[in-house]
């Protein structure tokens, strides 16, 4: 069934079709519609789940952790400051190996107060042990939520499904809503090996001394290393059912490209448009949109950028005192593998400033006209 829905409702539909059982959330712009629709679905019986509007995002994630530990499929959604407030609990979910799925609407951090998009909220949670998916269309959002539950539950690692504030969260697009029966077949009920239940009493969250702690982290990393393969495999299963493949990256004309743009989120779609235009002018440019940020798809990125002469990463985020976060990842991915080609790190679109096809033309012009980036960060569209 096709429907015209907003990005936020795409998250709601994903959570509904996945038959989430507990939804705990706190309102924050621009996430509110996600849970408003879910609260309605829970109230009118469309979704057989318990909905609670708790008193903070910290409590929302804590409630999801409790629900997940009891064996229920748990979902929440937040944004920016809300995600930052959840930080402690994010470590708890991953450390506790609880496959909660969280929708995060990328919104820049305060101060100064803002509600517009950039990725510093979710990328600041890079090291919390969560899988991170970055979406660029509402269709991708629905499909990703369902697959996120599949992958998370298979490996007992929580997932974050990320979309840009307004550019996607409030943009209406045609979405093919997957058939519930098919989703049920693809995603069977959550059935964890351990859960908090009086039938089989166990202690969870206990004190862990130096003799055990490191192994817990080692196991989390080992399972994290299985995520990429799991996304590809379950993605192919999903493709068989629904005709769409999620994958780790979206590569567009990378094969013969001399310059490869590396992008993420909705800016990645804008880059497609820019690449088409530049190809019309004879420029051999490609676009590599990263869909999965954690774990980072090193191998596929290496392979797809192999024949390019230069890589131009456009980051809608910044690691202060270093540079763009995707640029760091790219450098780390290609270091020691083949030719050491220059990686140009551009920063654009912080706090919701538009990234347009012209921004990408500027990026490509700079990359063509310089042998090396010369500076760690090349700023696009900043008023100096």
């Amino acid at each position: 069934m096709k429907k015209v829905i907003m990005g936020n409702h795409a998250l709601s539909y994903g959570a509904m079709l996945s038959r989430s059982q507990v939804i705990a959330a706190y309102p924050i712009t621009p996430q509110t519609q996600v849970v408003e629709l879910l609260s309605e679905m829970c109230a009118d019986g469309t979704l057989n789940a318990k909905f609670i509007k708790v008193e903070s995002e910290h409590s929302a994630m804590a409630a999801c952790i409790g629900a997940s530990a009891a064996g229920a499929r748990a979902f929440t959604a937040t944004s920016s400051q809300g995600l930052a407030l959840m930080h402690e609990m994010l470590h708890w979910a991953s450390g506790g190996r609880l496959p909660v799925v969280l929708g995060n609407i990328n919104r820049a951090m305060a101060p100064g107060w803002t509600i517009w998009t950039d990725q510093n909220d979710s990328l600041s949670q890079r090291d919390t042990g969560w899988i991170q998916f970055y979406c660029a269309s509402n269709q991708e959002v629905v499909d990703t939520v369902i697959q996120a539950f599949k992958v998370s539950e298979a490996l007992a690692i929580p997932s974050m499904v990320v979309l840009d504030a307004f550019a996607l969260s409030h943009t209406y697009e045609v979405v093919d809503i997957p058939d519930q029966a098919k989703v049920d077949a693809y995603l069977p009920p959550f059935n964890p090996p351990y859960r908090v239940t009086p039938d089989d009493p166990r202690a969870f969250g206990g004190l862990t001394g130096p003799e055990h702690y490191m192994e817990l982290r080692f196991k989390l990393q080992k399972d994290m290393e299985k995520v990429l393969e799991m996304i590809e495999r379950t993605g192919r299963e999903y493709e068989k059912q629904f005709g769409r493949y999620l994958g780790l990256v979206d590569d567009y004309l990378c094969d013969d490209a001399e310059i490869i743009l590396v992008t993420s989120g909705t800016a990645g779609y804008t880059a497609h448009v820019a690449v088409d235009e530049m190809r019309d002018h004879g420029l051999k440019v490609g676009n590599l949109r990263i869909k999965v940020f954690r774990p980072f798809p090193f191998e596929i990125v290496r392979r797809l950028t192999q024949s390019a002469k230069k890589i131009a990463v456009v980051d809608r985020n910044i690691s202060y005192g270093h540079h763009g976060i995707f640029a760091q990842e790219l450098k780390s991915a290609i270091y020691g593998h083949g030719d050491c080609k220059p990686v140009f790190g551009f920063i654009a679109g912080l706090g919701g400033r538009d990234i347009t096809p012209a921004s990408f033309r500027e990026v490509v012009d700079f990359t063509i006209s310089h042998d090396r980036p010369e500076e760690e960060i090349i700023w696009i569209g900043v008023k100096k």
């Binding site: 309102p27 712009t29 509110t32 519609q33 408003e36 609260s39 509007k53 008193e55 407030l85």
Partner: protein, 291 residues
Amino acid sequence: MTEESMDIDMSMPTNTVEEFLRMERMPHIWCPGCGIGTTVNCFAHALETSGLDLKKVSIVSGIGCTGRVAGYLKLDSFHTTHGRALPFATGLKLANPDLKVVVYSGDGDLTAIGGNHFIHAARRNVDMTVILINNFIYGMTGGQVAPTTPIGATASTTPYGNFEEPFNLPYLAESCGAVYVARWTAYHVRHATKAIKDALRKRGFSFVEILAPCPTLYSRRNRLGDGLDQMKFYRDNSEVKNDADTKTVGLSFQGKVIVGKFVDKDKPTYLDSMNAFYAQKFGDKYSPYKG
């Protein structure tokens, strides 16, 4: 136009509270019929007559529609994170005890995400004034259910009505240790102004709850008419009961609203207690903390 008429002073009538506002930030974001602006007017008048040195008044807000107040008042203002206005304010007061610290924020901000800080600031009797504007929902984000939403009222996350017990805020404040507790509505501008003035002059944790219409999200969704209708409701359904037992002043959906000054007592503030305690413990060796 004749020359005579040109002599008429065409300038706008003077708004007496203008000097308390950052006029360059006008127009404000509040909807027509919203009660928050009315309360700001009350606050400005209270300040005007309070005798306080405005250079020593600082205003702290959290997030939400009421959270915008700090940005519009021409005082040292601090627009902080969601729920944390009270700890920011506590730090401010500790660092500079000479300041009159006012926290001006909404029901969701102060009693949901900031609920923990509310009970502890009251418990410690930190010397500050808290003005809480209660519009029964989260206005800024679109009208979600709040810890103040009356049972039966509809919110964007309770499409068939709320079933959660709401807070009785004066009772909460008193039980936690507030030395001054009052409730008024945006209709009761003179009472509210007087209450804010009393609260500003009080030493210790003073708390003024002001009910305010939210025509866009609360009234509309609950079919209660516009801002004026809600003001008429307050006029017709409020009962002034000074010194009422706060246990009895809980609110129900469109039920009677008990307003008045409920608590006014004296108790050592946090800094008073600290200084007295250490002075007793260490005698002459202790020099009282003055910031």
